[in-house]
């Protein structure tokens, strides 16, 4: 249809020009910054490591989003709150263990218990969400579950606030993870190492699970085509619950890792990481597990490096305030050039 093609070609052209100029500006900014040479190589390294650590947390949360999306084609807007509930409830476990002296005497066990609490609570919240808010809406037009998710997110946030209070709570320190370590030329704190290593381990386990177990195969089947999967005898309902549960477990783990890096919990803490993680999932191509992981890492590094790398060159005052602007701009850019995300499947989209 010639008319349509020309219209879209004009739009395409405009978008490419827009995207191209933003990229050019960014590249030039980076060039200027490096030329200025304010930050030393060591400092850049520190920023990159910090970005990878934070990105690992984003990746774990993003996996929850992407798994649910792959099966139900809905954004679980409340996933950030699932993350928050795990971290916040485990705070009480950690405090109790600390008061009982267990953090000092048996730190590894204490850490495992705290981690288990967070993962369990997050899993419960995720499963409850599915059962109460999402299952009745399985067939509805896409806007409806999205609104429900937004509502559920509000309910979870303010219930946490009502139950636990609006103050900021600080986790007792896991002295087990104090100090720093060197991995060859790269130095990082032990906490960062633990976060990155745990996240990688969990993601590898997840990958193996999805590809090698029956349930994993069933999950993939359901995300491919529900009808056929049902016809093959798969209990689709149960698989959906399992997916939410796994997403919850991941978010709970992410919660504890997050509190290792930033030891505060607060009823609103899930909001920003939730949005960022969802951005990461979209960046990588929503519905794609590896994409979510890579997207998370990419976003983390981008956030960490972005302002200093791209903006200080231009002499913009207080560049770090614009951290989120960079993150979202990258999202827009990626979606202009690759509307399905980096690893998104074109035909799925």
């Amino acid at each position: 249809m010639p008319v349509r093609r020309s219209r879209l070609n004009f739009v395409n052209l405009f978008l490419w020009v827009l995207g191209g100029s933003i990229l050019a500006l960014a590249a030039f900014g980076a060039f200027l910054t490096i030329q200025q040479g304010r930050l030393s190589g060591d400092q850049w390294q520190t920023l990159i490591i910090a970005g990878i650590a934070l990105g690992s947390v984003y990746a774990l949360i993003a996996l929850g989003y992407t798994l649910v999306y792959g099966i139900l084609f809905m954004i679980n807007f409340a996933h950030g709150e699932v993350f928050m509930w795990g971290a916040f409830t485990a705070y009480f476990a950690a405090t109790a263990l600390n008061d009982a002296g267990m953090m000092a005497s048996n730190p590894i066990l204490a850490f495992v218990l705290v981690l288990a609490t967070a993962m369990l609570v997050s899993m419960l919240v995720a499963v409850m969400l599915e059962r109460i808010a999402y299952r009745p809406l399985r067939g509805a037009p896409r806007l409806v579950p999205l609104i429900t998710a937004i509502g559920a997110s509000l309910v979870l946030q303010y219930t946490a606030r009502g139950f636990y209070g609006s103050g900021v709570r600080a986790y007792p320190d896991f002295t087990l993870f104090d100090g720093s370590i060197e991995l060859g030329p790269v130095g990082m704190t032990v906490k960062q190492f633990v976060v990155i290593a745990s996240a990688i381990t969990i993601m590898v386990l997840l990958y193996l699970f999805i590809n090698n177990t029956r349930t994993g195969r069933a999950m993939r089947a359901v995300s491919e085509d529900k009808d056929v999967a049902a016809m093959m005898g798969i209990n689709v309902d149960r698989i959906i619950v399992t997916t939410f549960a796994i997403g919850g477990l991941l978010a709970g783990a992410a919660g504890i890792l997050y509190t290792l890096l930033f030891n505060q919990v607060h009823f609103f803490m899930g909001f920003l990481p939730g949005i960022k993680a969802f951005t990461a999932a979209v960046l990588g191509g929503i519905g794609n597990v590896i994409g979510a992981a890579l997207g998370g890492l990419a976003l983390g590094i981008l956030e960490s490096l972005g302002p200093n790398l791209l903006l200080t060159g231009y002499g913009i005052p207080a560049p770090n305030q614009l951290k989120d602007v960079i993150a979202f701009s990258v999202l827009v850019l990626v979606l202009i050039f690759r509307p399905a995300g980096f690893l998104g499947r074109k035909e799925n989209v």
């Binding site: 249809m1 349509r4 219209r7 879209l8 739009v11 405009f14 978008l15 827009l18 999306y69 084609f73 809905m74 954004i75 009480f92 405090t95 808010a133 009745p136 809406l137 399985r138 067939g139 509805a140 037009p141 896409r142 806007l143 409806v144 579950p145 999205l146 609104i147 429900t148 937004i150 509502g151 509000l154 309910v155 979870l156 946030q157 303010y158 219930t159 009502g162 139950f163 636990y164 209070g165 529900k226 689709v236 951005t279 979209v282 929503i286 005052p317 207080a318 305030q321 614009l322 989120d324 602007v325 979202f328 701009s329 999202l331 827009v332 979606l335 509307p339 399905a340 799925n348 989209v349």
Partner: protein, 569 residues
């Protein structure tokens, strides 16, 4: 066990869980300070009773599978069972808070909560009282199924109205004072709630009225329908005239404080109408609508305020307005263009990003020389010839709301509106039939932006200062929630949504702590029970409910039509 009994017990337990929830978040405690019936019933005590009533209603009602309808005494008994179970759970909660101290985790799980739950009686008497009252409430709820439909409806409407009238005490009192009916005020209200007499009167009158309308009303309705057209037209003109007079005189009737509330509602009506065009008409899910609001407010501030940092032309408000609209169109295009090829959830997250980008940019030190950064822009003058006080600013707001409503209405019925409908249903098909989706999408964003920016302009001049903190995601969510609640695509629905979601919380400001929680519950409940909103358009209702039979079967719908973000290239 008998399935009905089992359902009653399970529902009762769920009700108990609900009471535990509102107890532990501190709602019961906070609501104790508000009397529903002065000296008799506080709102905090009323809530568990209402929950028990609801549980009873559900327990005594018909069951779908297996299909049984309990009758008469059995229904009431089931209701009592459900309510009583809830009462048991409440007692357990109260016992828990008095014996085990977990206040370091849950600060609201205190003995004072138990005292409130037990109506101030001790453990033994209180427990018995709670269980009895809950069972009675449950029985009453179930009884609604048993008594004739018209009476049940009348009683329900009467009860809800009485409670609402009690809650809206500040509003009604202000109105009564303004029109000089203080005597009524003393008769009906005391200490922030209805007097016992007042409650009974309101309940009785409303119930009787509803019953009369249901039974006798039919004759009146038939007579109205049978009237000749010119009589009917006269009747309509009278209605319009009364409505007009009411709208014009509203600020005088309700007084200054409530005009303020009405003004805020008006701003959100404008926002809702604009978002309605983008989301409701064109089907483009925009979560970053606050960006337009901010642009409108800041443009106005920069152009009219003497304190504008970069350049202050100090235009009068109405002189600056054309520039605001132009800015709106530009921003609409800027936002609309990159998202042309996106759909659904991708569109949502990107627009969300734009909203956040706008807020951060307005706050940033970088843009401070132009828009004042964290300090914002002060001294925005009122819209000459109107003043800034609530009773004056009402008129410009009313004017623009009407303008917007008329514009939206005419768009809806026009070619543009039909093109939007087609696009919303299925974009690929719309393209295939020759509709220039690019043009219509951009038009939707542009118009939506215009409404949003005008609302922002009015906001700036109403408050007089513009701070970036006012433009966060919550505004976008508010706007979205109110068009969802009211009924998407329906102009009257937007107005109703704004009144409920923006007006009511303003009146119940003491409970602002729980406002967002209630929002969330309302959103979820609406989506689960009535996704087409309170006042849906007929086509929308059909759209949303044709899926209802298939909610047991997930297979057919999920994949093809609902969630996938489809890209049109």
């Amino acid at each position: 066990m008998d399935p009905l009994m089992r359902r009653a017990i399970i529902t009762g337990l769920l009700g108990g869980a609900a009471v535990i929830h509102i107890g532990l978040i501190g709602m019961i405690d906070a609501f104790q300070s508000r009397d529903t019936i002065a000296d008799v019933l506080t709102l905090g005590a009323l809530l568990p009773i209402l929950i028990a009533l609801l549980i009873g209603w559900r327990s005594g009602g018909p069951m779908r599978a297996p299909h049984i309808i309990p009758t008469g005494r059995r229904a009431v008994a089931l209701g009592a069972l459900g309510g009583g179970t809830t009462g048991l759970v409440i007692t357990a909660l109260a016992l828990f808070t008095t014996t085990i101290d977990v206040r370091w985790i849950l600060p609201n799980a205190s003995p004072s909560l138990a005292e409130e739950l037990w109506y101030g009686q001790g453990t033994a008497l209180g427990s018995v009282l709670v269980i009895v009252v809950s069972a009675a409430a449950g029985a009453a709820g179930a009884a609604l199924h048993v008594i004739p439909g018209a009476i049940a409806r009348a009683l329900t409407v009467g009860g809800i109205t009485a409670i609402l009238v009690a809650l809206m005490e500040p509003f009604v009192v202000a109105v009564l004072r303004n029109i000089g009916l203080r005597i009524l005020e003393d008769l009906f209200y005391a200490q922030g709630g209805l007097t016992l007499i007042g409650f009974v009167l309101v309940f009785a009158i409303t119930a009787a009225g509803t019953y009369a309308w249901a039974t006798r009303g039919r004759e009146t309705r038939e007579r109205v329908a049978a009237m000749p057209p010119d009589r009917r037209r006269t009747g309509k003109l009278v209605v319009y005239f009364v409505l007009t007079a009411f709208l014009l005189l509203l600020p005088q009737i309700v007084g200054s404080r409530l005009s303020e509330v009405v003004g805020t509602v008006g701003l959100y009506i404008l926002l809702g109408l604009g978002l309605n065009i983008v989301v409701g008409f064109a089907g483009l899910l925009d979560l970053g609508y606050v960006a337009f609001y901010a642009v409108g407010a800041y443009t106005t501030a920069v152009l009219t305020s003497a304190a504008s940092p970069a350049f202050s032309p100090e235009l009068p408000f109405f002189g600056a307005l054309p520039f605001v609209v132009v800015a709106a169109m530009l921003i609409g295009l800027m936002v609309g263009t990159p998202v042309l090829r996106l759909r659904g959830d991708y569109l949502a997250i990107v627009t969300l990003g734009f909203g956040e980008i706008a807020r951060i940019l307005f706050l940033s030190a970088w843009a401070q020389p132009l828009v004042g950064g964290a300090q914002g822009i002060l001294s925005v003058p009122p819209p000459i010839p109107f003043g800034r006080d609530p009773q004056s600013i009402y008129y410009p707001i009313l004017f623009f709301c009407i303008l917007a409503a008329v514009a939206a209405w005419s768009l809806q019925g026009s070619r543009v509106g039909r093109a939007w409908n087609a696009m919303r249903e299925d974009e690929s098909v719309a393209e295939a039939t020759g509709i220039n989706t690019v043009k219509y999408k951009l038009l939707a964003f542009g118009l939506g932006a215009a409404f949003g920016c005008i609302s922002g302009a009015l906001f700036a001049t109403k408050i007089g200062t513009v701070f970036p903190v006012s433009f966060d995601l919550l505004v976008s969510i508010n706007a979205l929630a109110l068009i969802i609640l009211g009924g998407m695509g329906n102009i009257a629905g937007v107005i109703v949504g704004a009144l409920v979601l923006v007006g009511l919380p303003e009146l119940l400001r003491e409970f602002s702590e729980f406002r967002l929680l209630i929002y969330g519950v309302v959103l979820v409940a609406m989506m689960l029970l009535r996704p087409e909103g309170l006042l849906p358009s007929r086509s929308r209702r059909a759209e949303l409910h044709e899926r209802e039979d298939t909610d047991e079967q997930y297979a057919e719908t999920a994949g093809e039509e609902t969630g996938r973000p489809v890209v049109s290239s």
